[in-house]
Amino acid sequence: MQLHQLTAHEMHDLLINKELSSEELNNHIFDRIEAVEDKIKAYLTLTKEGALERARSVDGQIQSGERIGPLAGIPVAVKDNICTKGIRTTAGSKILSNFIPPYNATVVEKLAAAGATIVGKTNLDEFAMGSSTENSAFIATKNPWDTGCVPGGSSGGSAAAVCAGEAALALGSDTGGSIRQPASFCGVVGMKPTYGAVSRYGLIAFASSLDQIGPFARDVTDCALLLGVISGHDPRDSTSAGYKVPDYTTFLNNNVRGLKIGVPEEFMAQGISPEVRAAVERAMSLYESLGAAVEYTTLPHTEYALPTYYIIAPAEASSNLARYDGVRYGFRAAEVADVVDMFMKSRSQGFGPEVKRRIMLGTYALSAGYYDAYYLKALKVRTLIKQDFDRAFEKYDLLLSPTSPTPAFRFGDKVDDPFQMYLSDICTISVNLAGIPGISLPCGFVGQMPVGLQLMGKYFDEGTLLRAAYTFEQNTDYHKEFPKI
């Protein structure tokens, strides 16, 4: 086992036992990045100096006998749609290619307060719109298990970085599956917390009512640790919930006895690859053998989730992305005739095709005469989808499904067919529409490519998700596999 393959809690043990300094650890990670980044391309920006500076400060604390938190001195990667003060933050877009935020996102402040070192900013689909990270304006991140395959998206850079040992942990954002699907494709753990559990302040908005920041980790324990650090009420985010953040590690029990697990049959139906289905069925059997009650159930409005999502998300996006106009910051087209021309040329040249497609979809859905038929209708269907989950959770403690219908696909396979690309989020988007938490963890391989298992929980019941995920992990070895790069 190599240093970069350790989990964060293992690294933490080395640090507090003074077997390793944080500076050595971080240097090792940057060496690792140097060794593999040419092949993986997980990062848009590296922040070695800042990381080492903080590492030395944590080392000082350890030397002087101070108790340090579980993430102190641990290298963390941050998705490049999360604002970092003084560090370029692009959202994967040409239109923000030169944007240096004058402020930190709340989660970045929380990472700093926890002493985590920030390794760099990871690649993503432009404005988090995509499922393969192919929509980045800058680079194509490769799947570390097979560099001919996509890492998933939109948080493909974060997933690949954790998978390839280029960071111990990472932050991503999940609007329709953008943490869970790449976690599944890269064989790591990824969680979308309950909407409102983690502050969105400083997250460059895609669809405000769906976006949520969450952790990537190499095991469930690390996931719980990072979740604990970033969660909690933020007075700067009106949609952040006022609740007491529990110590998530207390949920890490190898015990699912008596747990009631429902498997929505709609998530196991069309488009799912037989190998993925088989892996999920093995997971169902494992849970049963460990004392959980597992049975099929139904979420009858599932077929409307995708169309509902593709009204609401683009509608919000069309408004959220209106501010990128070349006036105040970001890319401005050269040679413009007047202000309207400046708006049009800056946006035409600054945005990529998928972003433009969604802005147009959303603008149309909100237009006079169409609002009721599209946006308002979508909001109503969203309520029905939520009610499906409410009913299911009257009976079950959690729901189980594949994270994505297939393992990672190859570059170019879906990029020209947006609808096929959208379908890869079919199992994840309902969770965003409902606002509940979801986690993806490795549950098998198809060939050499990982398969992800999704668990979905009740509002603010991340604890039960972590407990079930931890139990699965304790009884399987999938998370111990590493790609050969």
Binding site: S319, A322, Y329
Partner: protein, 478 residues
Amino acid sequence: MTQYETVIGLEVHAELKTRSKIFCDSTTEFGGDPNTHVCPVCLGLPGVLPVVNKTVVEYAIRAALALNCRVASFSKFDRKNYYYPDMPKNYQISQYDLPIAEHGYLNIEVKGEVRKIGITRLHMEEDTGKLVHQGNITTTPFSLVDYNRAGVPLIEIVSDPDMRSPEEAYEYLNKLKAIILYTGVSDCKMEEGSLRCDANISVRPAGSQEFGTKTEIKNMNSFKALQKALTYEAERQIKVLKEGGRIIQETRTWDDEQGITLPMRSKEYAHDYRYLPDPDLVSMVIDREWVEEIKRSLPELPDDRKERYVREYGLPVYDAMVLTNTRELADYFEDCVAVYPNAKTVSNWVMGDLSRLLNASVVGIINCPIKPEQLGALLQLIEKGTISGKIAKTVFEEMFATGKAAETIVKEKGLVQISDEGAITAIVEEVIAKNQKSVDDYRAGKERALSFLVGQVMKASKGKANPELVNRLFKERL
């Protein structure tokens, strides 16, 4: 010949004078170097989120209650989407279908008749920044943007189309301003833009129930401009109709220099705002008890105060109306009456000499150099006969200029009225001796001659002789 009736509705924006902006903690202070009263939130930088300033909601409710509105129990913010460089996000956070308050009214008085003007709605929104141009706007190669004003809280108050003349519109705006000033939630300074007014105006044949096609008039920067613009626009529309034309629904701008309204390029203003509920803000459940608490904290409003002045002080309605037009003037009046209880005399001084001096200088009533108690003391001196009414005017001006008490000025300048009969008799007899012709005239029946003689005594006594005594002494001798 068809008679036409004018129909007017006003949309008024008032800036709320909270200390911080509506969705962040940047200052709302007017002025400041460009782009210094800003933060990531009001600049709409990527990733920022708005958080509602509770005081803004409180102030909006305060204004709404003063305008007899029904305050909503459930309200939300919406995004109004359109592109303009003075808007940091290219959408304005406003309220669309669930405003904070609806269904209010206020009363205006025009030509002695009271008219009730309905208020459709009152909602909260954020202000925009300002475009600044160096040199001539038509030739300068670029625009500059100052975002200091972006995010300053506004309330928009939309009236029903209840006004029937520019005078009524003027009175409505005046009354609206008076009421808002009483509530203390806005400065309502049209010159500084903290009160702005757009108008919807149409005309229709008298007696018709249907509305004519309306135009929207913008850029009226003063009360006078409002009245002039509406007068012009009503006449323009009537002329078009009389000539057999049709009114085009459009937005027009008031050109104050030319005294006309001009069409704005309609293409730019044909907006589809694509409203959507702002997903960054949660909807608001308005606590009834809070509303009641705000209601209890409202001051006595102009109409109530006016009625009380007529009832309690026996003032003429006109006096009561003028005195209660602003809270500060009314407070001044009352503080003065507390010292000198003859309300009509106080009213005469406040509306007369005091207003004249205030208007001539730049000071407002709040910073008036003569405190209300000092004016009361001056009036007492007149009543006691210590000084004459005429001397009092001089003393008053001196008080205004120096801020000194009346008694001090009277003492310093030796202005105490001479009521000593012996001393005045001497002057009277001297004047009679020196002005035989006037004496003869008076005796011949010319009353005016007496005024001249009295005047001579006043002149000789430097105005200090008690005029009543002088008159009596003359009459006794002539």
